[in-house]
Every structure is written in C-alpha cells, then in structure tokens.
Symmetry: C2
Subunit: 420 residues, 2 copies
Amino acid sequence: MTTTDLDATTIAGLERTASELDAADPIAALRDEFVGAETSLVYFDGNSLGRPPRATVDRLARFVTEEWGGRLIRGWDESWMQLPFAIGDEIGRVAIGAGAGQTVIGDSTTVLLYKLLRAAFDAQQAADPARVEIVVDTDNFPTDRYLVDGIARERGGRVRWIEADRAAGVTADQLRAAVGPQTAVVLLSHVAYRSGHLADAPALTGIAHDAGALILWDLCHSAGSVPVEADAWGFDLAVGCTYKYLNGGPGAPAFAYVAQRHQAALAQPIQGWMGAADVFAMGPEYRPAEGMRRFLSGTPPIVGMLAMQDTLAMIERVGIEAIRAKSVALTDFTVTVSDTLLAPLGVAVASPRDAAERGGHVTLSHPAMRAVTAALWEQDVIPDYRDPEGLRIGLSPLSTSFAETLAGLRAVAAAVRAAS
Amino acid sequence: MTTTDLDATTIAGLERTASELDAADPIAALRDEFVGAETSLVYFDGNSLGRPPRATVDRLARFVTEEWGGRLIRGWDESWMQLPFAIGDEIGRVAIGAGAGQTVIGDSTTVLLYKLLRAAFDAQQAADPARVEIVVDTDNFPTDRYLVDGIARERGGRVRWIEADRAAGVTADQLRAAVGPQTAVVLLSHVAYRSGHLADAPALTGIAHDAGALILWDLCHSAGSVPVEADAWGFDLAVGCTYKYLNGGPGAPAFAYVAQRHQAALAQPIQGWMGAADVFAMGPEYRPAEGMRRFLSGTPPIVGMLAMQDTLAMIERVGIEAIRAKSVALTDFTVTVSDTLLAPLGVAVASPRDAAERGGHVTLSHPAMRAVTAALWEQDVIPDYRDPEGLRIGLSPLSTSFAETLAGLRAVAAAVRAAS
C-alpha cells in the first residue's frame, strides 16, 4: 500500500465524517446567511474578523437612507442615544450572561480596557494605598500588556507578571501566588489569543476576590463562541470585541461590562460630554452619569455598531449553548484531522486537547507556518499567523462548516508539504 | 398698507434674492448629491450631523460585499491598515492645510482630545515642571472643558479659565493675559459651537507660542466649512469631527493633527497594539511607532470611517475656498432674513455680524427657542437648540440652498409667532 493509497482511504473517511457532522449540525443552515458562503473560499479567521451576515448589506443601506438620511439629527433622540445600551444589554442577554444595565458599546477594545483598568486601579488605590499592583500574564494580548505597563507607570503602580505556559494558560496556583493585599486589579483573557486556551473564569475570579482584588476579564476571543456568565461568575469588569465572533465589521466598537455593585464607585478618566449626568445641559462642571453611561466619553459610534446586531439576532435565535456545542465539534474535528493529516508532516497542535479547556480556535505549530499562511491566502484559504510558528485555525461556529474545515486543513497539509 | 401686504412684498423680495443667489451659486448642483435633497425637508443641522451623500449608500454596500465579505482578514494588509492615514492625509490636503503624515483618523473626538492633551501636558511638564496650567475658555464645548478639568486633576495641574464673551470669543488680549511661563497647553475651538464665532487662529497660536505654550485647536465646527491652514498657521495639535461638515455619519471617528516637529517627543497614554512600533511582532514591551501611528491605540474603526470619503472627494472637486464663499453667502443671507423677518418678533442674532468672524452657522436668540425647535422638528424643519435660548441655523454649504434657507427661516418666524 503506497502513501497515496493510505491518503486516499484516510481522506475518504474524513470526508464521510465531515459530511455526517454537517448533516447532523442543527445550526448548519445559518452558514448560508453569510456573504460569501456560496464560494469555495475557506475562512479560518472569524476569530479575528468575522464574516458579514448578508442582512448587514441591507441594514446599512436602510440606515443611511432612512435613519441617517431621513431622520437626520432627530435620530439621536429617537433611538441612537439608547443604541449603545440596547445593544449592550442584548450582548449581556445572549452572549455574556449579564443582566440589563451593565453592558454598553463604547470605544475600541483598547480604549475601554484603559478606562476600566484606570477606574478599577484608582478606586482600589483610594480605598487602600497599599494596593499598588496590577496582575497580568506574559502571554496576554499585546494591548492588554502594554496598557497595564503604561497605567502602572503613570499611576505610580507596579506590574506583577505571571509567566503563563502558553497551552496551559494562567493556573489557579499561579494566580493564588501572584495576588495578595498588594493587588489592585487582575487582568486576564478568557480565551488566549494564541493557543485558544479557555480559562476557568469562575475559579480565577474567586481567587482574585479572596485577595481583595478586582478582576477585569478580556472577553475578545470568547464573546459569541464560548458561554460566559458574567453575573453568575461574579465578574467585576469585562471588555470584549465585537468584530470577531459577533461579526461587527473591521474596527467595530467594543463592549464594556461593569457589575452593578461597582458602577457608582468607579470613575473613568476620559471625561467627555456623553458621560456627563445631563448631556445637553452642557453645564460648567463634569458630573458623571448614573449607571453605564459614565463609562462613555465621546459621541457613540453609531455607524460602526450597526452590523453586530445581525449576529446578535442569530445568537438569540439558536442560543449560545448550541453555538458552543458546534464550536467544540469543529475544534475536536480539527484536532482529529490535524493528528491524521498534519502530525506526520511535523505539525503539532499547540492548543489544549481537552475541549473543556479550549475556546473557538485551534493553533497548529510548525516552523514553516509564516510562509504557509502566505501561500494559503493566495488560494483563498484564510487562516492567520501568530508568532511563534502558529497557524490559527479560527472556526466561527455560525459561518463555518465541517466540509469547509476539512477542505482547508487539506490545503494546509499541501502547503506545509510544499514549504518543507 | 397692512402688515400682511408688507410681509408679502418683503417675502417676494427675499424670494427673488434667494432665487438669484441659488442661480449664481457655482456649487449649487452638489446639493442633489445628498440623500433627501428631493424632499421639502429643511435641514439646518449639518453642523451637528451632516446629511449623507447618495454615494455613501453604494459605498457601504460595496464595502460589506466586496471588501469585508470578499477580502476578509486580508483587507487589513491590502488597505485598511493604511486607511486612517490615507483619509487623514486627504483631510489634511483638502480641508485643514496639513502636509502629509500629520493627520490620522482615530477614536472619538473626546478620546483624541484626551490623548493629545495628555501628551502635550506631560511633555511640557517633563521639559519644565513650572508649566502646570492648561488654558481653556468657559464657553468651549463641554467635552473640552470636562477633559481639561479631569486631566489637570489627575496630572497635578491647574486650569486657567478664560471668561469668553459668547459672541466675541477669546480675544488676543484675553489670551495674552492668561498665558505665561506657567502655561503648558492652550485648548481653544476654532469655531464656537454656540455663537459660531470664528477665532483668529494664526494670531492666537502666535500668542500661545510667545509664552512657550503648546496650542491644541478643536476644529470640530470648522473642518470642511472654514479654510484652515494648520501648517502655515503654526498649529501644534488639532482634533476635529468628521460627522459635521464632513458628513461621516453619526459617531464617525475624529481626526487628529500633530505637527511633524512634535511627533517624536509626544507620547500618549493609551498604549495599545496599533500604536506600537511593530504591530504584529506583539513583543513584550511597548515601543511607540514613528509618526502618527503612535497616536492610535486600538483597531482602527474602518466601517465608521468609510462615509466621510464621499464628502472629502466633493471638497477636493470644488475646493474649500468655494465652500467658504458659499458658507459666507448663506450666513450673510440668514442674518439679512433674520433682521427682516425675525427681529420684529424679538429674535436677536447671537452670532458675529461680520462674516470674517463667523463660521458656518448662525445662532438666533429668543426665550421661546426651545419650544420653537420642537415645533419645527414636527414640520420637517430641523435646526437645533443650545442653551441659553439659542436656535442654531447650521448651513452646510455643500447640501444647503438659499431657497431652503429662506423656507426654513419663514417657518422659524411662524413658530416664534405661534410660541409667543
């Protein structure tokens, strides 16, 4: 039996599996609701920029013609002023387990993280000047690390770095050893952007709280693919992306969650008119609004927050649990295919093998992955690359099929072969 | 002769004038390029939210289908990473007199003002700890005042308030008296949001510089309607809106200008991945990028910055001088009509009467103006209201005709009569 015969049999088996999984997938039909689903393009980067729902094309056209063009400035009074809160509440309800009045669409992820970290650090400092440390891990996303570094410097604080193992994430023991009476705030990612490691958020939140620290969760890589229970898990603060699994479009504004119990005590530093108690009084002094509006600063980015509503409606229709079930099936299948087709080529799975510890993407490691990514893009097979040596296979559950996944991984195998 | 006869004659004269002005207007045809131009709606609030160009409907649909949906994540490499700089340079070239490499589209106006004010204040403090004051006027826009107040508090600085006369703006003498060796930075608006007063930006910039201060210009109410020469007038820093005269849509992101000579020395506090020297190295430490990218923080809001390109193309076609000429004619005509039809009803012109000291809107003052605004909105005549007693007649030069202006002001007269 030659390698080719072996491959042919193996491929036929995987194709049968993919086909069965697609046939059994209760949310398979949603894929057709996305732009480009009819093409042979393989999209493995919905964890970085989600595909647009077809409904978004009409939504934007209608918005420009009827709302912006038709209602003009009246649109602010009629609906736009409330939109950041209405969409925020919808994210809370369908994606992150947050009761109403705790989630809002604001600025970019980076700016919202800055505002909430500053607010949390300053409040902790005011209550207890000994709380000077911000805890963050070395494998966290660059923005998170850079922000913590800058804020510690400008506020006279210190950074306590946790050296996280990439595949294992921040462990309970590591966090327990890092926090104490000196800790102001902990910043962790729920799903790691490189390995896809899924943190045990309830346990880690409890550890931070036991030390008297506040915890800020970065939900960028989980919102919309992994269930989050912000209220039930006792989150203090969270920020998340809307252009990944929520398909809000390139650079769509992020959301911020602040638990009700903290809102009145937290003040963020970018004091703008939209965060003031009475926006149109335009009075001499800044008094922060009650509730989540105090975390806003400038005019809400309405055009940028329209698209995400189409995906939020889909999540509401099928439920986040069904989405997570498909996500687990997709990443399990990817690990299986990788073990079968890619391991013999020297490719390693750099993500957790246990689905309970894995978010919505699988990272495959090989020295040639940077070149492989470039070659794949030319063929309309689109993963992304992250140092070191990581090919990220993002599997957006609403828009990715098992057949597409297999086709893409076969292309990865061919590209690795060609590059080796 | 009865009042009615007098009115009829007067109205006929004004109608003739409006008709002649429209006929002689070299950029009159541009009005038809806006959504809603075919209706009888009168729009007097393009200084707050500009009308959408018709081209924007297609632009957004094409973007979702072809760029976002078709290129997907590749769009970042292919064009979106450069878009904030490309549009920034276009704003520089066609609207604010800035050479390439000094203007970028970033966050909201408020967030950009915060970043540049912080950067300027911190740099001045580092060079000379005696420079502890931020100078701002009491009639500046709320966001500007609130930010200054917050930054002074968090950085151990002080605010020096200039009590500006609403109609006369901040005078050279006032600024000269306010600045000195204690001044770090001055923040002024080029066109006042209430009265429409147009500041003598070159002279005031010189006064700030003579005292060793940096000056940050808020161009929100001038960009796209009043010529600005950021380079020639020696500006240090500027921030401006894109959803007013640049018709970028509700909450479109703002632009920031930083003069080349200052860029290397200024560091802004919101250290995110997009401001780092090598974005995708994702290294352990934040090193700010060269040039304007250091003033970015999070992922650029691409969807939000698309629409403004249609208006920038129009400005490029006809030139900002032609736009200013029409703007002056529109505001002059508004003053004339107000003197004729509204003064007898007790309405006063609260804006400068000299066009050289006036931006693109005219504010009309009367105790009933809040109620008048509400009544007008019901009739599709749409100015806006600003305390105290001010009806703002915004006259976006690209999308407003003289006939529309007269029709709207006649409706104002009727509404004031009804409310009195």
